[in-house]
Subunit: 383 residues, 2 copies
């Protein structure tokens, strides 16, 4: 039996008992009438959670969030397409690479890691050249930064470009409305805000995106073939029944909680964590208005071996947090509070565990302020 971890890293997030039970239902084949009814239900729920408009197509790719990213790119990118890609971290960079692999000419808007993209930078780029596609990561999981997707999409749409948005670490946890925000293609994953295991990538294409769809070079990720399966029940691939059940159940849970309550819960627990960390003398990488509620990029204090802290949290408390990626390796921890993991108990437990580990490693601020971190978190959560 594998160990029970408290998953407070950059994903996967904790999977509730209810979702685990759904996962373990009897396996149906990909063409069973019951399976087709479940997929119909999922399409409706995905339309709802994305806030998709009339004529949109929402479904889930049989793969992780990265396959969702590649499916988004593969179905709208002609060789030679002009793409403006906002890069504020590791996943923005990956998105730019993906477009290049599909033959696009990519102009990058590179922003310092840890900061959001100012929409005026996009505005200037759009006035200087014509782009087919503007792409941006909503919640940059590598830096804990929220990009102003609504403003960027408005500018892109006004300039006649399609907007492609990565919502891997925001869907189901932070405000996102594809139709209202004029987002054309948006993808996510199953294991962050939704709280299912990884392995499926929810995806939506607006009517406008469907009208500009291009032949996909990928067969596995070809939206026309996927639509044949999801909508017209024609075999394309053998969808994974347990993952479908888990995602369907997680969408039902989101619907029961209500999207806005869910967003509030994520906000509240993020603010509690930030307040507690501040008392411990720790700071978050992005400035307050640019912070995600789902993923907290915590600066590693001077003189502390960051890998040892992660190892001790795992060994002594079975708590997983994440390391920094790329230029942030060794400089930040990534602490996720997503889906079922975003609870006040998890905030308090994590602060207590972190304080103990740090203080035993000789970290001074932690030792002197140990009792008030939890109090500060509790007080932030009830305000």
């Amino acid at each position: 039996m594998t160990s029970e971890r408290l998953l407070l890293g950059p994903g996967p997030s904790p999977v509730s008992a209810r979702v685990m039970r759904a996962l373990a239902q009897p396996v149906l084949s990909h063409l069973d009438p019951e399976m087709m009814a479940i997929l119909d239900d999922m399409r409706r729920r995905l339309d709802w959670i994305f806030g998709a408009g009339e004529g949109a197509l929402s479904l889930a790719i049989s793969g992780t969030g990265t396959s969702g990213m590649e499916a988004a790119v593969a179905n709208v990118t002609k060789p030679g397409a002009q793409v403006l890609c906002v890069v504020t971290g590791y996943f923005g960079d990956r998105l730019a690479q993906m477009f290049e692999r599909y033959g696009a000419t990519v102009a990058r808007v590179d922003i310092e890691w840890g900061r959001a993209c100012d929409p005026s930078v996009v505005e200037r780029a759009l006035s200087a050249a014509q782009y087919d596609i503007v792409a941006v990561v909503h919640a940059e999981t590598s830096t804990g930064v929220l990009n102003p997707v609504q403003e960027i999409a408005r500018l892109a749409t006004a300039a006649g470009a399609l907007t492609v948005v990565d919502a891997v670490t925001s869907l189901g946890a932070m405000p996102l409305r594809t139709e209202d925000w004029t987002i054309d293609v948006c993808y996510s994953c199953s294991q962050q805000g939704l709280g299912a295991p990884s392995g499926m990538a929810p995806l939506t294409f607006s009517a406008r995106a469907l009208a500009r769809k291009v032949p996909s070079r990928s067969f596995y990720l070809d939206l026309s073939l996927l639509e044949d399966y999801w909508v017209r029940r024609k075999y394309h691939h053998t969808i994974s029944a347990p993952l479908v059940y888990a995602v369907q159940e997680s969408l039902a849970i989101v619907e029961e909680e209500g999207l806005e309550s869910r967003w509030s819960r994520h906000r509240r627990n993020h603010l509690a964590l930030a307040a507690g960390l501040e008392v411990l003398g720790l700071s978050l990488l992005p400035p307050p208005p640019e912070r995600l509620w789902t993923l907290n990029a915590v600066r590693v204090p001077e003189g502390i071996d960051e890998a040892q802290v992660r190892r001790r949290l795992l060994d002594e408390f079975s708590i997983e947090i994440g390391a920094g990626l790329g230029p942030l390796a060794g400089r930040i921890w990534r602490v996720g509070l997503m889906g079922a993991g975003s609870t006040s108990s998890n905030v308090l437990l994590f602060l207590t565990a972190l304080e103990r580990v740090l203080s035993s490693m000789g970290y001074r601020r932690a030792a002197s302020a140990s009792s008030s971190a939890v109090t500060a978190a509790e007080s932030a959560a009830t305000n």
Copy 2:
């Protein structure tokens, strides 16, 4: 709760309670030390089940068998590559399409659906032109046909080509040895012979294939990035823990049973089914030496509504069998006996259920021979 089906279609095959229990273990993240140990164990087990040689790389793609097919193609196909593709059914045709999407020039060896490819046809093609790659489906799931992969791979290797083999419906159920048979790239899926749910695609590249690897246009299926993750523990995608657990457990079950015992079991139950069907006056599409042990293509008798038979088996017995694909739609049923589903009890239950349904629909042969189908099956199984 979804219905409990007896999955006797072209896949997925039944998932045992043991594999379901493994699936439901606590979710580990993709970089947890315990997960990395599981992946190391899986690589060893995959090397073993494929019969991979020194210097091979075996891992599993995070997607269905179709993603395995695309990964195989994406990592060895340069634009302009000359590919000889044997097409004996729907999946051979899909394989040819996949190579074309990745820019290859594909010469097809088209064989009548329901028959295997004679190696001499490949031999002639190889002597007439130079090919970089020879591709063939081992177990053609659409027609129930076994192709002589060992002979074809020997010819391809002698001609200097890489051999790409689809083992979706043979791995773990029918003889297949990649090193001994000089197969360079071989992929399969989790939900047929292995008996796990769908969602992962075991894949192996020989040392020779690795030496001829080309830059992958797909990011998600890029073998170099996948190797970075599986071997060097560098993040590429968030592997699905439940699927990993299920595949690992199914590989452990195969190892415990023993590959040769497992092959014998599949052969015995296939022969029992064929004997029983014969007594019912039903015939299989391929001639005996070309038949799969995993998937039986049963000709629909004259005057019988094939869809109604499938629907009644599902509604009255909760037994799933498959329909024909492409030119075989309406002309065959596809009856799978794979993995945990290949048992003598399933053969007897299926024959009994089919006979009842057919006889109630006025099928004459079934009514007259009802008691001896089961006897014939039992007798074939013990011979």
